[in-house]
């Protein structure tokens, strides 16, 4: 039981033996140490049957490409891991134990490097992006457009991790707000998180010409057309981004289903993209946009939290539902729709992991 001391020793040992690895990490290592402990715990608990975590390790290997990890780093990490274990186990550390760990780490590293190498044949480790438009819609909400130089295959509703040169090695996930375009531009909607390291740069620190790095697309909030089934999109704040991308995807279908898009915020100035949505709806007879505001009594449209508005606005039992936004909003929406009889399998969600102040 040494708590934080173990990962602390591990990273210090690694950086002293291989100083070049230090710049793969952010200034503050606190979150990084937690991640290492979780990953190690997962690997150790499954050490007997590596097959069970092969998928996890492959993801980890692919994900590490954007951090700048290369094959040569893996033996260095292994050596520091063994040195750390030897240090904390003291007299209990035997050559046999060391050999077992060495072999186990070797297998883990092999799975990771192989997955990374395969991934490298398909796509770049990251995409270089240049900001071509940036607009502050409210003091804490911005939308911006970037252009990338190499094509990226993604599905509307997916997200990518983003890094800015002002905050090296700090990656955060954001959803694309558009279906893939031929001109290789992508839109993002960003809300400033109080105390957030990257979101403040993306809302207030970008200008046309700013450079960003973008990781490979991930995420399962993607739309699959179901014949005869209509669609309900429920967006809270910047949770709108992936759902706008899905709406755009539907607009390209030859025979689009009926789509209801509920867009909610606390106050009317939080409906930062309502004008854009209404313009879109004007050209799409199958699309209905319903703005809702919860904390502004004078608002002329729907008032109340999104799940309350949904409950009195229609029957959603035959709809495919996609919901995205702040955690409490997504949870309330899922509970409400389940209570209204929408089967769980038809509700797809993306939890943005924060709550709106």
């Amino acid at each position: 039981m040494h708590g934080d001391a173990v990962p602390l020793f591990f990273y210090s040992d690694l950086f002293l033996r291989h100083p070049e690895t230090r710049e793969l990490f952010p200034v503050s290592m606190a979150a990084q140490r937690d991640r290492l402990v979780h990953a190690l715990a997962r690997v150790v608990s499954e050490a007997g049957h590596l097959d069970a975590i092969t998928g996890y390790l492959q993801d980890l290997g692919r994900e590490h490409r954007k951090f700048g990890a290369i094959d040569g780093h893996y033996p260095a990490v292994g050596a520091s891991l063994l040195a750390t274990l030897a240090h904390f186990n003291g007299a209990a550390w035997t050559p046999e134990l060391a050999a077992d760990w060495q072999a186990a780490y070797g297998r883990v590293a092999q799975v990771m490097t192989e997955a990374a190498a395969e991934d490298a044949g398909n796509r770049p480790a990251w995409w270089e992006a240049t900001v071509v438009a940036h607009e502050l819609r409210r003091f804490d909400i911005a939308t911006f457009r970037v252009a990338i130089t190499e094509p990226m295959l993604y599905l509307p509703g997916q997200s990518v991790s983003v890094e800015a040169p002002e905050r090296p090695r700090i990656w955060r996930f954001y959803s694309m707000a558009n279906a893939p375009r031929d001109d290789l531009t992508m839109d993002f909607h960003i809300r400033m998180i109080d105390g957030g390291a990257l979101s403040i740069v993306l809302t207030r620190g970008l200008a046309v010409g700013s450079r960003l790095r973008i990781g490979a697309p991930v995420g399962t909030l993607t739309y699959r057309p179901e014949p005869g089934r209509d669609v309900l999109l429920v967006a809270g704040s910047t949770g709108l981004a992936p759902l706008k991308a899905i709406a755009e995807q539907i607009s390209l279908l030859p025979d689009p289903p009926r789509v209801h898009l509920f867009f909610g915020a606390r106050t009317a100035d939080g409906l930062y993209d309502l004008a854009g949505l209404e313009k879109m709806a004007a050209g799409c007879p199958w699309l209905t946009v319903v703005p809702a505001v919860s904390h502004e009594p004078g608002f002329p449209g729907e008032r109340g939290l999104l799940h309350e508005v949904l409950a009195r606005s229609g029957n959603w039992r035959e709809h495919d539902v996609y919901a995205s936004g702040p955690t409490p909003m997504v949870e309330a929406t899922v509970n409400q729709l389940t209570a209204l009889g929408v089967p769980q399998g038809r509700i797809h969600v993306e939890d943005f992991g924060w709550s709106e102040p």
């Binding site: 002293l16 503050s28 796509r123 040169p165 290789l184 699959r224 057309p225």
Partner: protein, 257 residues
Amino acid sequence: MTPRSGERLTPDQVRSIALPPARFGHRGYDEEHVLAFCALVERELVTLLNEKASLWEEVERLRRRIIDTGDASGVRPEDAHVQAVRILSNAQQMADRYVADAQQYSRQITAEARRHRDEVLAEAKTHADRVLDEAHSRASRAAEGAAAEPGPAANGEWRDRTAELAYLRTFSEVYRTHLRAYLETLLNNVEDWEQSEKSSLAAARAELPFPFPSVAPSAGQATPPAPAAGPPPSPYASPPSYTSPPSYSSPSPARLP
């Protein structure tokens, strides 16, 4: 009551901790204070565990030195490495703490600014309503007065026009006065703000014990490897198929905004 970061937590403080009750309508203690206290306890425990580990090492080292009756001078290479690890670990923890404190500070400031903004907006709206009401009622009185005055002609239209003119003149006068006063207050606020930002920045710089050379990204670090020479990237000819999943899997849905 809550010790500042950097100070050591004492058993006395834990015993005598007095947490303020939560805001009206919430049960238990104020969440922010409880979380801050837990963070403090956690930091203290980590420090203690690290100190314990290093003391244990020191004991081991001294014990070995006694057993090795031979060469007791000179530091053995593995000892030197462990010492270097410890120094680097301490420096890293110090850096972590600075970043965490800065983040905490920024969180508080932003939350405060957000609250302040909402208050200012609400107040401005109330104020505007009041000014409009006042301008309207004074202008109405002026109009009534003008209409009651005996005019040169007993012409009804003439009287209406005079009343309307008096109304508009008074309305715009009241409104102008209020607007001028409001803009002056606003301007003073902005100047105060500018002033306090300048002095707080100067203070914040003075508090930094040493510069952080590693914070600024060096040009080499921020620049990606040059793209390999070869044909330009193929045009984006084939859009992804929307009906079938992509060939690559979609890992961790975890999102860290």
